[in-house]
């Protein structure tokens, strides 16, 4: 045996994933507590955790959640960045002592896999209050949802059955939840105004996504209701993912779905003030009953998305190099652009 060549080299095992001058030599371990039970905050937490993972060339994302409904489970199934998911019962959460890597830990996870995966030794821990939606725009690499391929044929067939043209663009319109405080009558009026522009002037469809329990009244010509597509949130997410843009008149969770798929969106806001929101989005200040401003905003986003004359292709991001770092805490991202006619 001759030294040093015969001795194994462990320099790549640097402590906590880093070696001098470069990050990382092994995966950065991220542990995210996805504790939200509602659709929108869960979307935000899931996307935030994925965004943190994308900050590193080599990272593993471990997620924990309690008992979740099918909508939230659907969100997770669209997120390819999660390395391993721990599922709890009901609203149970993890004791902080589980992150004690010492042999003398007072409380330890029962599963040997916890330690096999290195979950007790995270390099980054994300808790709900840290995953602020205002930060998402500050991440250089946007997280991306991916629909399970095997679900797509059935959803496509359902959209054909609805009468959606497969060779022309459409706009997804977010329906508010049935228990929302939004003025549903004003929303229905806005839907009719939108249909006049999108269907009548552009021969495109307006496809509704959102809460199937919301009473939307009689469907105007050119409006298709996709709220009962198969696969629940997956079907509706697919609609959003292939839309030319998403129109949101009352701020719904579907904005986050659009963001997750890289789909442009336009959201009505009540005042002309900046909104921290990531992605290719626009806001347009308008009163709910102001059909003129709504029409102008729709025409403006049609113009902004003129590169999408048909169904939107899957976004192919061109990422720059990973920064291999985050900031604690992250800072808010830039303001969303204001859509002006």
């Amino acid at each position: 045996m001759t030294y040093p060549d015969a001795i194994p080299d462990f320099s790549g095992l640097g402590p906590h994933g880093v070696r001098p001058g470069e990050l990382p030599s092994r995966e950065c371990r991220i542990f995210a507590h996805l504790l939200a039970q509602e659709f929108e905050p869960f979307l935000i937490q899931a996307l935030y955790a994925a965004a943190v993972k994308l900050c590193f060339d080599h990272a593993k994302l471990f997620a924990y959640h309690g008992k979740i409904d099918t909508r939230l489970a659907g969100v997770l199934s669209m997120l390819p960045d999660i390395t391993f998911t721990w599922r709890g019962q009901d609203r149970s959460t993890i004791p902080m002592d589980y992150f004690d890597p010492s042999s003398g830990a007072a409380l330890s996870a029962a599963s040997a896999q916890w330690r096999d995966l290195g979950c007790e030794k995270p390099d980054v821990m994300l808790l709900p209050s840290m995953m602020d939606w205002r930060h998402l725009g500050a991440f250089g690499r946007a997280p991306r949802f991916v629909l399970p391929r095997d679900r797509v044929p059935a959803i496509n067939q359902a959209l054909r059955d609805l009468g959606l043209a497969m060779t022309w663009w459409y706009c997804a319109l977010a329906v508010p939840d049935h228990d929302t405080e939004a003025d549903l009558e004003a929303w229905r009026s806005a839907m009719r105004s939108g249909a006049e522009i999108i269907a009548d002037r552009h021969a495109a469809s307006l496809v509704l996504v959102g809460d199937p329990e919301t009473d939307i009244g009689r469907l105007p010509a050119g409006v298709l209701d996709a709220r009962n597509l198969p696969d629940g949130v997956l079907g509706q997410s697919y609609v959003v993912s292939r839309a030319r843009f998403l129109l949101d008149l009352v701020s719904t969770p579907w904005l986050w779905v659009a963001y997750g798929f890289g789909v442009p969106w336009a959201m009505r806001v009540s005042a002309d003030v900046p909104v921290k929101f990531p992605g290719q989005g626009f806001v347009f200040p308008a009163d709910p009953a102001d059909s003129e401003k709504l029409a102008a905003a729709i025409l403006a986003i049609i113009h902004e998305t003129r590169d999408c004359p048909q169904w939107r292709a899957t976004v192919s991001d061109r990422h720059g190099p990973a920064p291999n770092q985050i900031f604690l805490p992250m800072s808010p991202g830039p303001d969303a652009r204001i859509l002006r006619a």
Binding site: F10, H16, P41, A106, K276
Partner: protein, 372 residues
Amino acid sequence: MTLKASGGSETSHEERQVVIVALMLAPTLGDFIEYNLFAASFKRLYRNARLIAYYRRDRPFKDAVVEMNPEVDEIWPQEGTETVEAGLFDPSRGDGGGRHVDVVLTPSMMSRTTLPSLPSLARFRIAEDIEESFRAEFTSAGLDPERWFCVLHYREPSYDTRGENADRDIDAGDPIAMTRFIIDTLGGQVVRIGHAEMTPFPEFPGFLDLSRHPGGIKIHAAAVRRARFFLELSPSGPAALAPCFGVPLARCNALIIAGPTSPDSVVLNQHLFGPDGIRVPIKTCVEKNLLDGTVMHTILRERGYQFRRNTLSEMKRIAEEITASTRDCPGWREPAEPARASPSDQVPWPIVPSRAHRIWGYGAAASAAREP
């Protein structure tokens, strides 16, 4: 949730207080001290921050160490099987949840290898009465308060809480010889710290044994704070006190290369021998990361590698070396608050490990050779 505008009454980023929860989860003294030092120093990186210390009251020193941490704003001590769950930080919970936190530091995020990378380390505090108590012990033992002393510590198998550790335990022979060497040859005085069951030393002038002092970790820390240097003869937790007071640290019989945080500190590792009985050069050990604390334990030992202790003459050379490099401290060390780096509102993460101290026999200045 409805999207909110970012203007108006929203607190600006600069004004907001950053809430840090440090999970100081370690049953061992050294790790616990280091987590406290990391968390305190990390907090100082922020313009406006609040540090919450989460720890278990499972060892007698825990409260005392946290008390010495000057940056802790709130403590969450846990007894028995009590714990805090992640749900506490879930704003959607009405049942006591919703506690806001901006940063959670887990034990793995507070690695000792990153301490030297922090722009400045916090200094632990010692209460005046503890300082006076130490001074009284020192003078009543006949030691000269006008002359320097070093703190000496090593591990013995009688440490009942943690038990024997063959790689780390040494008997009292070499420590006694080293104490005499420091007093008789180097002209210093020696204060030994440790647990109460440590082997008694013979009495001789210039030596004070605090291992049985009822003041425990606080009186030990008071001694470290005023020492010219800390001499550790085998790996053991109390050495972690040295960086908490900016005191140079010399480690002998070390199993890892990390620990000290200052350029005037030095580590003399145990010698690693291969299965054929040939010594692995320290350069190879460093560059191939053999002394990270886990490689030897989990991989190399079963392949026939073994550690061999430092000799007495090697330890004497280390003592001479650190005595020379601390010649600016001829008496009791004057506590000094280090310059603080300009605080910010954000900290880049992760923090890259680095090394400031020298590794005996490794050659190049440590600051130029970052730790693998």
